[in-house]
């Protein structure tokens, strides 16, 4: 009964989303505030209904109600409770429901936000967002209903794919979804602005926190997914340029460009048309990712189930929203008034270059992901586009961007000074060069590019901190003056410094992968495998039984410089509930930010076992850096200007903590 009510709640949510989509637009047209504000309670109700529906589905998973087809197909009564719960979104139907739930959550938050959002903008945004919700609710109700019943109910379920029975499933998809779907709000803001024909700094200020939220979650989602792949797949890789990963990287690159271009728009009333276009493109790329993964175009297991009607449905949604919004853009954008002018060498100019590189990098990933599909469709020729292509095309765009980043970060608005900026960065540049030389000397004979990468990372961190320090200390003298400047500096200045330093940390982690080692051997208990200072000794191999699997455990002792430093357990699991499917659970031991990674291979007839040992120096920095980036973004959101409802123009444009955000007061002129 509960399941039927949840099904009904889905239908109700669809009806209310239609109300949310139509009535506010009508209200705005008739200048009827009461009607225009109908979208707000509607958005909140849609969220409550979907939350209920999702809760019911989760409950059905928790109690293993196999009369629900979705539960029977994807769960098992012996599965640990945590994986029963996370299994709710470990399948097509459940994940689509989570998608619209998060969408409705964002709608409700816009409705509730206590910011100075103009009524017309709020109404238009809620209506535009509701149109996407309507499309996806129709998709769920017609092609992917999670509440279908089975009669008679099977006694036992099929269980979830063992690779998904991991804490990663609890963390990675929800984070990623909040990121993806969060950009729907930015998209809705853009559509509302285009329809309204008005766009200014108020718009940029209203949009920026939402963009940041989406960006933070997407950053964390991608990063946690990468870590999950790293420890679960068992060969120590962390990024594979898989189409599925690319599908999440594209909106991230576009979103990163977007958070930078909205700064220009907010501060200088410039780059409006481009920002609107980016907002549309970012969410379009999220939708494209949905299509790629859900439609089965990528011909693989990750579509959970391949059903052509689903692919077609999503393709229609895709064309409707991307095509429609781009047409609207082409029609209305020329009416937008361009704003402030700036010299080529200026903060704005630097951010334009940032956007140019990021957009080109995004286009590169787009081409690499879709070209093989297009080529095969058009000519029948089959080619593969793998990591070598992306390394050859993506990195040449990314490296100059990172090298230029510190210059843009410490340049003045409107009219900058390249030489002066370089002088201010002299210390950071020096530190970067010294780091490169030092590491090169210390690892002489090793990989050549790695020290350069480390130097770049160090340069990014040093310049972010140096720039921040200079803003705080500046020409102030005395602890009190410095303290008050430190307090007075906007949070977003700390946020951007932190985020850019995080980029540097990640770059160091990536560069250090060049020093990773890999050894393969057949080992018997008592055998030792050594690489450099690290050695592992296989102590014993024994079987063990888990709740829904059997596993073979290899227990190793780790020695570093001949001293015992703990144990590693590496296992091979066989899931009896799922056709004896096997997974490897790599044994990972962390020392500082470096790791020793051991995975188990085939067991040989004579009882010995294949073992792969990796040493991964500084590996964790890759993900720690992304956490720092996310933290920087979070700090920026708490900036005062997003909490205080003051229109931009009312403030002094040059005040010490005035309307400027990223950077501080204009450097001395």
């Amino acid at each position: 009964m509960l399941v039927e009510i949840a099904h009904f709640a889905l239908a109700m949510a669809l009806g209310l989303s239609l109300v949310q989509m139509i009535i506010p637009v009508w209200g705005v047209r008739r200048n009827d505030i009461a009607l225009a504000r109908v979208g707000e309670p509607a958005a909140i109700s849609v969220f409550v209904l979907l939350l209920f529906a999702f809760g019911v589905l989760m409950y059905a998973y928790a109690v293993s109600d196999f009369s629900v087809q979705n539960v029977a197909e994807n769960s098992h009564s012996a599965k640990p409770m945590i994986y029963k719960l996370t299994g709710t979104w470990g399948n097509h139907e459940g994940s689509m429901l989570l998608w619209v739930l998060i969408m409705a959550l964002f709608g409700a938050l816009v409705a509730l936000a206590r910011t100075s959002l103009p009524d017309r903008l709020r109404a238009g945004t809620l209506a535009a967002q509701a149109s996407v919700t309507v499309a996806f609710l129709l998709f769920i109700l017609f092609t992917s209903n999670p509440f279908n019943r089975l009669d008679p109910a099977p006694p036992e379920g099929n269980d979830l794919n063992p690779l998904l029975q991991d804490l990663g499933l609890a963390i990675h998809p929800p984070l990623l979804y909040v990121g993806y779907v969060g950009f729907s709000i930015t998209y809705a803001f853009a559509i509302a602005a285009l329809i309204d024909g008005r766009i200014d700094a108020v718009w940029a200020r209203a949009v920026r926190p939402w963009t940041l939220v989406a960006w933070i979650f997407l950053t964390l989602g991608i990063s946690m997914g990468s870590y999950w792949a790293y420890y679960e797949l068992g060969w120590g890789g962390w990024w594979f340029w898989d189409p599925v990963e690319n599908a999440s990287l594209m909106p991230w690159l576009a979103g990163t460009a977007l958070i930078h271009s909205t700064i220009v728009m907010e501060k200088r009333d410039s780059l409006k048309v481009w920002t609107i276009l980016l907002a549309i493109l970012t969410f379009s790329l999220s939708l494209l990712g949905t299509f790629l993964v859900r439609s089965g175009v990528l011909t693989s297991v990750h579509t959970f189930a391949t059903d052509p009607s689903r692919g077609l449905f999503i393709l229609i949604i895709l064309m409707l929203f991307i095509g429609g919004s781009l047409a609207l853009f082409a029609w209305r954008a020329p009416m937008l008034r361009q704003g402030g002018l700036f010299a080529p060498v200026s903060r704005e100019g630097a951010l334009v270059i940032n956007n140019l590189f990021l957009a080109a990098a995004c286009a590169t990933v787009f081409i690499g992901t879709l070209y093989p599909l297009a080529l095969e469709g058009l000519t029948g020729a089959k080619i593969s586009v793998g990591p070598p292509f992306f390394n050859a095309t993506f990195l040449p765009l990314l490296i100059p961007l990172l090298l230029l980043l510190p210059f843009g970060q410490s340049m003045a608005w409107k009219r900058g000074d390249l030489l002066g900026t370089a002088q201010r960065l002299a210390v950071a540049i020096g530190i970067g060069i010294l780091a490169t030389i030092g590491i090169f000397a210390a690892t002489y004979g090793g990989p050549v590019a790695a020290p350069l990468g480390i130097g770049l990372g160090v340069f990014l961190i040093a310049s972010a901190l140096w720039d921040l320090g200079e803003r705080i200390i500046g020409r102030a003298s005395g602890a009190r003056a410095i303290w008050s400047r430190a307090i007075g500096l906007p949070r977003s200045a700390y946020g951007s410094a932190l985020a850019h330093a995080g980029v540097g940390v990640t770059v160091i982690g990536i560069a250090a992968t060049a020093w990773a080692t890999e050894d393969i051997a057949v080992m018997k208990p008592g055998d030792r495998m050594t690489n450099g200072r690290t050695a592992i000794v296989l102590q014993q191999v024994f079987p063990r039984t888990g709740p829904n699997f059997r596993e073979l455990v290899g227990r190793f002792r780790i020695e570093i410089d001949g001293k015992e430093r703990g144990e590693i357990e590496s296992t091979k699991r066989t899931f009896i509930t799922r056709n004896n499917m096997q997974t490897t659970e790599a044994g990972i031991r962390t020392f500082g930010v470096s790791q020793v990674y051991v995975s188990l291979g085939e067991i040989q007839p004579d009882g010995s076992v294949g073992v792969r040992m990796y040493t991964k120096p500084l590996m964790l920095l890759i993900w720690i850096g992304s956490l720092i980036m996310g933290l920087g973004g979070a700090l920026s959101i708490t900036d005062r200007r997003f909490r205080v409802a003051t229109p931009a123009k009312a403030r002094s444009p040059k005040g010490p903590q005035g309307s400027t955000g990223g950077p501080s007061p204009q450097p001395a002129e």
Partner: protein, 153 residues
């Protein structure tokens, strides 16, 4: 997108079991040759997998290819000769780095083309904006407009 990476995991590993691709028995005794074999293998796609090199894959076909690569290297082939041999047998699809050619011109040239087009666009917009001038003196029409506004005020 749902469970995107999870999904990647599913396909990268699940279908072909746990990943521990190169087995000790396959390895060549000469470390220099083995090193070359790994280099070549890393550029060859496992044909029955999704986006996985034969060096990373557990699939039986990938194993056969690894052995083949090592046999050719032992027989004295250069890296290019080995790769060409495999391509002759399995087609271009086996190359993770797509070959340069007319049919891949847009693939390889696309990123640079887009970057240059973007740079050109920025330059054009800048130039037309610079035409209006930052801090240039006002033209006659603007002077008149300014005078009109000041008079009103």
């Amino acid at each position: 997108m749902p469970v995107r990476l999870a999904a990647a995991l599913v396909l990268l590993a699940a279908t072909f079991g746990p990943a521990l691709a190169v087995t000790p028995q396959e390895r060549l005794a000469d470390p220099a040759l083995e090193q070359r074999a790994r280099q070549v293998s890393a550029g060859l796609r496992c044909l029955v997998c999704q986006n996985q090199s034969i060096d990373d894959s557990e699939a039986p076909l990938a194993r056969d290819l690894r052995v083949l690569v090592r046999d050719r290297i032992k027989a004295g082939d250069s890296n290019t000769q080995v790769t060409d041999f495999v391509v002759a047998r399995y087609g271009e699809y086996v190359l993770l780095k797509p070959p340069f050619g007319l049919h891949t011109a847009l693939l390889w040239g696309g990123p640079a083309l887009i970057f240059l087009a973007g740079a050109f666009g920025v330059w054009r917009i800048r130039r037309s904006a610079a035409g209006k001038g930052v801090g240039e003196s006002l033209n006659a029409g603007e002077q008149a407009e300014l005078a009109r506004i000041l008079d009103k005020g």
